[in-house]
């Protein structure tokens, strides 16, 4: 099959590699129909993530058609499915608590040591995202092997085209969980730092979860425009002081909940697709935990801090005094995608959620290396690149 493989910094290639096969009973093989380049894929492209091997297939946002199933799979050949980026067994303590991104079993035993050393306990497996997270082949390919296929993939009903549901794989549930973590109450104002895909989906979700107002903070005019079109009020941090502006806009109280949808470009264990936000806020990124500090200081007393932005290592000068004295609640974590698939699919079906506005570019899979380049170099215009294995190169 053809697949996008990593070979080094800014060196990704389309190659012919062996087709994946069923290995374990619960596996399924999916023929990819749509896959996206995630912001966090740029971490790999930029070689910020250790433990990538030459030839690794990237990609963790994908969907397709079931073409082969193991005896323990509940999927049926021909079904269309979206596959969560988090690989979760469904049977460990964490999965039973619906904390799927903490699954104890999906990271193979010989790969799990690294994260155990880094974080105290071994983290879960993820598609196409280095050997820290299991070394699983990703979905920017014609086919992919999906472990625990009886638990992860969600079957998509006919009539919902790929572009409406593809982002269920990662960024839509990530934005939703970020908003849920705001513990929104009636009348609440939510402030969101970073208007990349996750930040934008957080804005959308916050309104659906009952936020009275949402304030979006970024500096890319196009992305702020998108935020505004979703009903958010905006602050361009290049032009005004953010904390003073927030105080002005909230009657001096401050936002009830704050969202760090930026994170930092770390060389740790990152899964998420926040790099859009990271890149749009390069200026913030120069001070690596700047946004985290900023949200803690800007949050009202007794408010909530939601952190979908990815952090991988250690940070310093965190205003721990403000966190404690103001009595803030912090909620964070990689997304428990499996938990949110059904309700979010229903909302897409009912027309309450639209994700297609985000897609700025559609390319044949064969053009994926070019897609990476564009995504990296043109942040303001390129909001999301979707790749189609079925499209021939000349059709683009």
């Amino acid at each position: 099959m053809r697949a996008l493989t990593w070979h080094g910094k800014h060196d990704v290639r389309m190659e012919t590699v062996p087709d994946p096969k069923i290995v374990n009973p619960r596996d399924a093989i999916i023929r990819i129909t749509s896959t996206a380049i995630c912001g966090s894929d740029l971490h790999l492209y930029d070689s910020y993530i250790p433990s990538l091997h030459k030839g690794d297939i990237l990609g963790h946002e994908f969907m397709g058609e079931v073409v082969e199933t193991g005896p323990g799979s509940t999927l049926v050949k021909g079904q269309r499915v979206v596959v969560p980026f988090v690989i979760a067994c469904g049977q460990c303590f964490f999965c039973e608590k619906q904390q799927f991104s903490a699954c104890d079993n999906s990271n193979p035993a010989e790969k799990a040591d690294l994260s155990e050393v880094a974080y105290g306990y071994a983290m879960t497996g993820v598609f196409g995202y280095s050997h820290l997270t299991g070394g699983y082949a990703g979905g920017q390919a014609e086919y992919v092997r999906v472990p625990y296929s009886d638990v992860g993939p969600i079957v998509i009903p006919d009539g919902l085209e790929d572009e409406k549901v593809l982002f269920l794989s990662d960024i839509l549930p990530t934005g939703w969980m970020a908003a849920e973590n705001c513990l929104i109450e009636p009348g609440d104002t939510v402030a969101v730092w970073g208007c990349g895909p996750v930040g934008l989906f957080t804005i959308q979700s916050a309104f659906l979860l009952g936020a009275h107002r949402v304030i979006a903070i970024d500096h890319h005019p196009h992305r702020l425009e998108l935020a505004k079109s979703m009903g958010a009020e905006i602050i361009n941090y290049h032009d005004v002081k953010v904390r003073e502006a927030l105080a002005e806009m909230t009657g001096g109280i401050g936002p009830d909940a704050v969202v760090d949808a930026v994170g930092m470009e770390s060389h740790g264990f990152t899964i998420d697709n926040i790099i859009d936000a990271v890149k749009t806020t390069t200026k913030l990124g120069t001070d690596r935990a700047h946004v985290l500090r900023e949200v803690i200081l800007a949050c009202r007393k007794g408010g909530r801090v939601s952190v979908p932005g990815v952090y991988g290592g250690v940070g310093d000068k965190i205003p721990i005094g403000a966190l404690m004295e103001k009595g803030l609640t912090v909620k964070t974590g990689q997304t428990h995608v499996q938990k949110y698939l059904r309700p979010l699919l229903d909302m897409i079906g009912e027309g309450k959620i639209d994700t297609t506005f985000l897609i700025s570019h559609r390319l044949p899979l064969e053009d994926a290396p070019n897609g990476y380049k564009m995504f990296k170099e043109q942040q303001n215009e390129v909001t999301k690149v979707v790749l189609k294995p079925d499209w021939r190169k000349e059709a683009a």
């Binding site: 994946p20 290995v23 374990n24 030459k54 460990c92 303590f93």
Partner: protein, 195 residues
Amino acid sequence: MSEENVRRALESDAPLTAAVHQRDVSKEAAEDRGWREAALVGRTVTINRPRADLYAFWRDLRNLATFMENVESVTPGDGRTSHWVVRAPAGRTVEWDSVITEDVDGELIAWESVEGADIKNTGRIEFRDGPPGRGTEVTATIVYDPPAGDLGKLIAKLFQKEPKIQARRELRRFKQLMETGEISTSEAPDAAPRG
């Protein structure tokens, strides 16, 4: 390590950790058996399955080869004996006979190699109920006499110079198999070939 340190280490309610980090404790195990020295590895995992199931799986020693990376086979013999064949680097194998020294249904199994073993070793696996609804806490402890000479080097390689790593990987695989029915892997042909 002073006797005072050892005494205080044993006062903490984490005897395994104390034993692993206070060499004097494992030295005792060596002296008891007349070994040259003793290396001790241990690890606890929680497995989301009933105690009885886990015990039963482990008690059929043939099953151990399904999740222990280097164990080629364990063949039960008469009564409480078993024969172990373990893969070593360079296509070699090391073998020993073992005897079960303690066996409490649903609770623990302990074994020890018999005279003439390539690697003198003893181990125990204990199964305890976790907090209500939280599965079973499984603790594995292995004490072995690291052989000297060529064989010693081989064994060091076999245990990847870090027996702790090997032990935790084996227990992870055991947990995976018990909880999910399979051992998770991302090896080819799942992934692209890597040169």
